[in-house]
């Protein structure tokens, strides 16, 4: 039986394909970080099914559904991509690939990149063969990104790059970096910037991990010492870097918000945690204040999930999110922080462990996740910077 509505027919064909090709173990809820596939030359698969699922999805172009087929995508319309998304959700399929390349660099290359750049980089991103990291921040240029000092001096057909990037998430496990560099005069803050793609295996690149308060070291300092980068790795024009970098940030914020919601789905609900630590098996929680706070976070999460869904639909309909992405990022991350704090509070003394005996692995995780979450309102732009953006660009308030 097949419908006469082309959309419905397309949906049916997707459904059949997914049923046939998504391994059953990839239809279970995601567990911890080991269930995320990030790809790249140093990427690891926790199971053969993870690899199979990525390969099959990539072969159909479904890791990047709206990208043109010649760049490794599936060439779907936004509406069709929406159907794919719905069907993936309906079957409970895991994302086959997590990737800054997919979420941020890809859309930017499609918009600003040259043909050769697209052909070279996009298919590798779509297959998860190359992992990218983001080199924007520097010791003296955090919130004030236009202050980057890393220089890229043109010498013949190469840029010679020297300087230091910092807070580069996952640089140590990435293959390439997209970064903001100064190609022009120091005095011209925004105008003198370029958006450059750098192969991290180039001579002169030195990556050193930085330790976080959570004890982890996912991010790094990256030093460039006269690193030679072919001139064809500059995206757009030399002075266009700021515009390109900002466009990428809009994609980044939308994705951060979207990912922010996925942990809520995969982790234990707050009330389950509350029951365990308060020792109340059933019925109404006796601590009315805690109960109210749990409900508040739960409800806010529903609100936030709706806002994210709204935004995703807008993007899929081909509308840019623009500065509205700042509101999305800000509220999603602050909610996540409140959620992590409440979890630690609910766990009481059991939420205070660092390592060793006396605490379960989950409890140690809970504590470290809480510490990690303090970065949520800093990374991807601080909440204050997003409030500035909303005030100026969404609300039009004067400077």
């Amino acid at each position: 039986m097949s419908s006469s509505d082309p959309d419905e027919r397309f949906r049916e064909s997707l459904r059949c394909w997914l049923e046939e090709n998504c391994p059953p173990s990839m239809r279970t809820p995601m567990g911890g970080e080991e269930d995320e596939v990030w790809g790249g030359s140093r990427g690891v698969f926790a199971s053969p099914d993870q690899r199979l699922w990525l390969e099959r999805m990539a072969a159909r172009g479904f890791t990047a559904p709206t990208w043109p087929v010649e760049y490794g995508g599936a060439g779907l319309t936004p509406a069709q991509a929406g159907l794919l998304e719905e069907e993936l959700r309906r079957l409970g399929c895991r994302p086959p690939l997590h990737s800054l390349g997919l979420w941020m660099l890809g859309p930017v290359l499609l918009r600003f990149g040259g043909e050769a750049q697209k052909r070279r980089h996009l298919p590798l991103i779509a297959r998860g063969a190359v992992r990218w990291c983001q080199g924007y921040s520097e010791p003296e240029a955090g919130s004030d990104l236009a202050g980057v000092r890393t220089r890229a001096v043109l010498e013949g057909d190469h840029y010679v790059v020297s300087g230091q990037k910092t807070w580069t998430s996952h640089a140590a496990v990435s293959d390439w970096m997209f970064c903001l560099v100064r190609t022009g005069a120091d005095s011209a803050r925004h105008e003198g910037l370029g958006f450059l793609l750098v192969d991290l295996s180039s001579p002169g690149v030195d990556v050193r991990p930085i330790r976080l308060i959570s004890g982890e070291s996912p991010f790094c300092e990256t030093f460039f010492d006269d690193v030679r980068v072919p001139v064809e790795n500059l995206v757009g024009q030399p002075g266009q870097g700021w515009k390109i970098a900002m466009s990428l940030l809009e994609y980044e914020r939308a994705w951060i918000s979207r990912l922010g919601d996925s942990d809520f789905v995969r982790e234990e609900p707050l009330e389950v945690l509350a029951r365990r630590y308060l020792g109340e098996e059933r019925g109404q929680l006796r601590d009315a204040v805690l109960r109210d706070r749990i409900a508040q976070v739960d409800m806010d999460r529903l609100c936030n999930a709706s806002a994210v869904r709204h935004a995703v639909e807008a993007m899929e309909a081909g509308r840019g999110l623009g500065p509205e992405s700042s509101a999305l990022k800000l509220q999603a991350m602050e909610l996540r922080q409140r959620w992590r704090e409440l979890k630690v509070e609910l766990a009481g003394f059991q939420g205070l462990g660092w390592e060793g005996p006396g605490f379960s692995l989950e409890e140690l995780r809970l504590t470290r996740d809480w510490l990690r979450s303090r970065a949520n309102s800093i990374e991807g732009g601080t909440s204050e910077i997003h409030l500035n953006i909303i005030a100026r660009r969404v609300l039009g308030l004067p400077d």
Partner: protein, 379 residues
Amino acid sequence: MGLLETTEQESLRETARRFVRERMPLSHLRQLRDSGSPDGMSRDTWRELAALGLAGITIPVSHGGMGLGWTELGIVLEECGRTLAPTPMMSTGVLGTSALMLGGTSSQLRSWLRPIASGEKLLAVAHDEGSRHAPYNVETRANLGPDGYRLQGEKVLVLDGHVADALVVVARTSGSPGEREGLTLFLVPAQAPGLQVTRTLLVDSRNAARVRLDEVLATPEDILGTLDRGAEVLDPLLDRARVALSAEMLGGLSEAFERTLTQLKTRRQFGVPIGSFQALKHRAARMHCEVSLSRAIVTEALHAIDEDRSNVPLLASAAKARASDTFLHVANEAIQLHGGMGVTDACDIGLFLKRARVAAMTFGDGAFHRDHFARLRGY
């Protein structure tokens, strides 16, 4: 179905907005308030609104309505909320109509839906009794005698009770206050002997009444839904009312926020627009986030009703809590950012704070809904 507005919905919004702006701007509410109008509303304006099809948006076409969904109803309510338009939209278009559609017999539908859609008849729902919203705390009794049911009790905050042609009264036919079982809904004509309706003047000039039922006679034909199982109608009815009121509040809070933005851009102190101060910018930006969250959850809840999703009760609570808290927050901030002018009666912004307070308490405020939500989720 997507959350983005379709072109049909956009044009409905345009129609509603234009009508409300022209025929029921804020000055309309002020005029009714200051002239001591006995009804607190204009029936002529309501009929004009009905003539556009807006009184019977969700009423099936076969009964004279537009046969549209809750998403569309929400759009119109939002526009009405922008000017605090004194219409029987909530009482009749939402509560009365839903009560009928959820529990009405075919003869009840036949006699009421068409005149509602044309703007001729108004309905009200009488449920709350105490000083807070508490759906099952019903003491009003309906005792079965030889000639039918005798209703005895008192109701508060009956929206538009004083102008309604009939009241849907929630009464107890068995059980005791607080219990879900034992409730029954009766459709009682306004002129029924023993029914005493007193208009109350609320802080926000919203039209409501107290109702006293003294041996009011009702027959089994007047029952909406099933005897003793009225909660099966009342629960979805209240969820719909919560979502609808949230949509109305969304209009009010958006308007209050936008007026505040204008103030921030135009009012000058220290030689600059006050909106250039970062302390105020950040407050405005935080409000913007809350406003967008309210919009997202209200839209989601409206869609959920249209799609008959099982999570409507959860979404309804989340929407009502978010809209209530946001409206109060935005209205308080709005007054503060308007400065001294903000606390004068001449300035419109205060009207929004008053509406926020009343709307928040109606059908449960944030605290009520966090409790309700927790209960639904079993904790």
